[in-house]
Homo-oligomer: 217 residues x 2
């Protein structure tokens, strides 16, 4: 499948990049991301190879090996880039931002609605499912992608819950790392296991239940 | 891989079963369950075939086709049987029972501790992961197994939360179907995505947070 293209020879790895070659590199980089995401969504993680990504992106496989050490690393960066794109499309300036308006419920509902949009975005869905499926059966892949793609988002929730604790809106004895799972995990399970429909109303409800509990107050 | 064994010829499908052949059928049935679960755990759902299951179980593939229409159906029943076995091993008499002692928190904690045991049971783990992974990328398989293996358990939680509502221990406006996700989904996500360790202390904490919420009371 993979072929060396002439462009490989024109852009040796150690050559200092001129503006033109930087643009060319950026184009290649995005072609590689697109190829990696579409391929993994179509044929799954195990059958996706560097050679296959190179062939679909129209680059030589050495172009990929110059920048990344493995298909896992290519995919990791492709997902990070996709997340940044999605955040820009949603009008956000900083992908790793969680608002603090002082109203914890409103802030959580806002971010979860963006997550609902992302989970149902067709650019995101097939490749994300392929990667998630591999992570379920391949602990090394699962831990790597959880650590690099999921945990940065979870840490934002930890910070936001801590701020709410300081503001007296969350009980002091609550562990923020567990608390966030009350709204993150139900949405994740519905998406992963088709256990129920996903909607803004649903995620709003999760936030209310998590904050106030199901027992009478 | 698959071979017709002489025993197929001795047990035609329409012959009325005598006690001996019933015992023989039971043995075959359990050999098929064991083969299906071990095989799917080793090579994954897509590569598991009726022929492969038959070869490993030491039966002819017609023996399998006599009882089941597809590998999905074999696996479904194998999992149901495994769940029943695990419940018996845990000293339970009824696999589909959720206690109602009048103390909702205690009852939920009790059942979740059994779930922790099951999720970390090696007989269960590899085949369950293989099936869950396939369900993430194959919506038809995902929905089938969620409906037949997961939903019966979720419905027990719905019933238990409804009883608690009648007893005034859960607010009337709470949707039990969503409420149960506050403790079921975090545990599921930690198991599926390696997002954190699984322990009794953790599931106890989930129940407390779900009942009383994270906001001050």
């Amino acid at each position: 499948m993979a072929t060396q293209t002439p462009s490989d020879k024109k852009t040796p790895p150690d050559k200092k990049a001129a503006p033109d070659s930087t643009r060319r590199s950026e184009r290649s980089r995005h072609a590689i991301y697109d190829a990696a995401l579409s391929l993994v969504g179509e044929i799954g993680y195990p059958r996706t190879t560097i050679e296959g990504i190179a062939a679909r992106a129209g680059v030589g496989k050495q172009t990929i090996y110059r920048w990344w050490g493995s298909k896992a690393e290519v995919l990791l960066e492709a997902f990070l880039d996709l997340g940044e794109q999605a955040a820009r499309d949603a009008g956000g300036t900083d992908v790793y931002a969680l608002p603090d308006t002082g109203d914890l419920a409103a802030d959580l509902k806002h971010v979860l609605r963006l997550t609902v949009d992302q989970l149902t975005d067709p650019r995101f869905e097939a490749p994300s499912r392929a990667l998630a499926a591999e992570g379920v059966v391949n602990e090394q892949v699962g831990r790597k992608f959880t650590e690099q793609l999921l945990m940065p988002n979870l840490r934002l929730y930890v910070d936001r819950v801590r701020a709410a604790q300081e503001a007296g809106q969350v009980r002091q004895e609550i562990d923020p790392r567990i608390a966030l799972e009350l709204w993150v995990s139900p949405l994740a399970q519905r998406w992963l296991q088709f256990t129920g429909p996903i909607s803004y109303e649903y995620t709003d409800t999760l936030v209310d239940y998590a904050l106030y509990g199901i027992a009478p107050r």
